[in-house]
């Protein structure tokens, strides 16, 4: 029961984080379309770091 609540909290946190990353990257690309490649790379790296954290928490909670 509690681990399900914990999983929900993790997903909420990760969702907020991913939303921030994606949204800011979109803004950045809209401002500077010529930097799309660099922004995308940085975005994927940070999303991967966040995802690693979220998955780690999910597996510890399981």
């Amino acid at each position: 029961m509690y681990n399900l609540i914990g999983a929900g909290l993790i997903v909420i946190g990760a969702g907020i984080g991913l939303g921030q990353i994606g949204g800011k990257a979109m803004e950045g690309i809209a401002r500077q379309p010529e930097a799309t490649g660099k922004i995308q790379t940085a975005m994927i790296i940070i999303a991967a770091l966040l995802e690693g954290l979220a998955f780690g928490a999910l597996f510890l909670g399981k």
Partner: protein, 390 residues
């Protein structure tokens, strides 16, 4: 045109046949002693996620009510108290609960939850304590060719063949032919988009070989995991941990003087903070970086497999609510699209693992202050600005 339409007809007929036969092959039975569907699905998914000692394709219950397993056995190689012992895993007759005792080389072996145990002296069958742990059997050193090992060997052989043939093509002419045309842009992509920008122009050549190997290894294994053979190699902690340790060893031993100074005695911060930072940096470099690499790959691939199989299992769990056709349709649509996403994830995880490995290696070999003297352009790019800012 004619060929295409005949293929289309065959394809549709096959799908229809599968749907119809699926509808008829699962009569709801209320026999006592039949395993609960949810438990069965759970057991099936857990079984798939784990490594196994035989290559199991599918099982079915025949008309006589016997459980039939289709697949082929793999060799079991164990180092027990009596030395090296080898036999085929078919000796266990698909038993996974420690019921079948195999006697080889004067030692008795049982298989319990996909692990091989050796019975203690004088014991004839396994006894369990309350936590379902065996009390009179001990684990052996297991060097078996398991399903994951088969996957690793297959991909290794494939890569050896594909890339050595690609490499030999460059001896005669500049442009590769055949399958090499598929591989060349991928190799160039890893070199120019991952290795070169992250490691730097000066050192990237030395590390591109490792990055290419790890990229293709992970990617092909991820894709292999999406086939119905049910490999889950990159979803094994042992495999991902091994890959992460390779990266750890490479960036630890290729780190230059400045890298180690930034870890052990960070310049530019007050003296009292330096030991604290050294502890944090050491933990980061030796534990957290490889741990995040291994957990990310393992968790993504395992989670992907669990999701795909849970969606396929909708077919059985919602059969009573939605009817056979409805549940099948729902499950098909959901699992189809999630599998498409998984194809993307397979690439993305290989890319991220390679990318982060390159990033870590790049951090270790970077030359900080005098790296931009011969850069060739006067306008500072983003990296210069960031470095000066920090």
């Amino acid at each position: 045109m004619k060929k295409v339409s005949s293929y289309l007809i065959k394809f549709t007929a096959t799908i229809l046949f599968l749907c119809v036969s699926m509808g008829y092959s699962n009569p709801i039975s209320d026999e006592p002693g039949k395993v609960d569907t949810k438990e069965e699905i759970d057991a099936y998914i857990t079984h798939h996620i784990k490594d196994s000692h035989d290559f199991h394709l599918f099982s079915y219950t025949n008309d006589a009510g016997e459980r039939k397993h289709v697949g082929f056995p793999l060799p079991v190689i164990v180092w027990s108290s009596k030395g090296l012992t080898t036999f085929m895993s078919s000796a266990f007759h698909h038993d996974d609960d420690g019921e079948v005792v195999v006697e080889k080389n004067g030692t008795q072996f049982v298989k319990l939850h996909s692990k091989i145990y050796e019975l203690n002296e004088g014991a004839t069958e396994v006894t369990f304590d309350e936590g379902k742990h065996a009390t009179n059997a001990s684990k052996v050193l297991d060097f078996s060719i398991t399903k994951s090992v088969v996957g690793v060997l297959l991909v290794g052989l494939f890569m050896l063949f594909a890339f050595s043939s690609l490499a030999s093509q460059y001896k005669n002419k500049k442009v590769p032919t055949g399958f090499g045309r598929v591989l060349e842009p991928l190799v160039l992509y890893v070199r120019d988009e991952i290795s070169r920008p992250n490691i730097g122009e000066k050192h990237y050549r030395k590390f591109t070989g490792y990055l290419l190997t790890v990229f293709f290894f992970i990617w092909i294994l991820n894709l292999l995991g999406l086939t119905p053979f049910g490999f889950n190699v990159t979803g094994q902690l042992a495999v991902t941990a091994c890959l992460a340790i390779f990266t750890l060893i490479i960036y630890t031993f290729s780190g230059n003087k400045e890298y180690w100074m930034h870890i052990l005695w960070m310049p530019g911060v007050p003296i009292l903070i330096r030991p604290v930072l050294a502890i944090i940096e050491l933990a980061g470099a030796l534990i957290i970086k490889p741990f995040s690499l291994l957990v990310r790959l393992f968790a993504n691939i395992s989670a992907g497999h669990i999701v795909v199989m849970s969606l396929i299992a909708i077919m059985f769990t919602l059969k009573d609510t939605l009817g056979v056709a409805g549940a099948t349709a729902l499950s098909f649509i959901l699992s189809f699209f999630i599998t498409l996403i998984e194809v993307l994830v397979a690439f993305l995880q290989a890319y991220i693992f390679t990318m982060l490995s390159a990033l870590f290696i790049g951090m270790a070999v970077a030359e900080h202050d005098h790296a931009h003297d011969g850069d060739g352009h006067d306008v500072p790019d983003a990296e210069d600005v960031r470095e000066n800012f920090i």
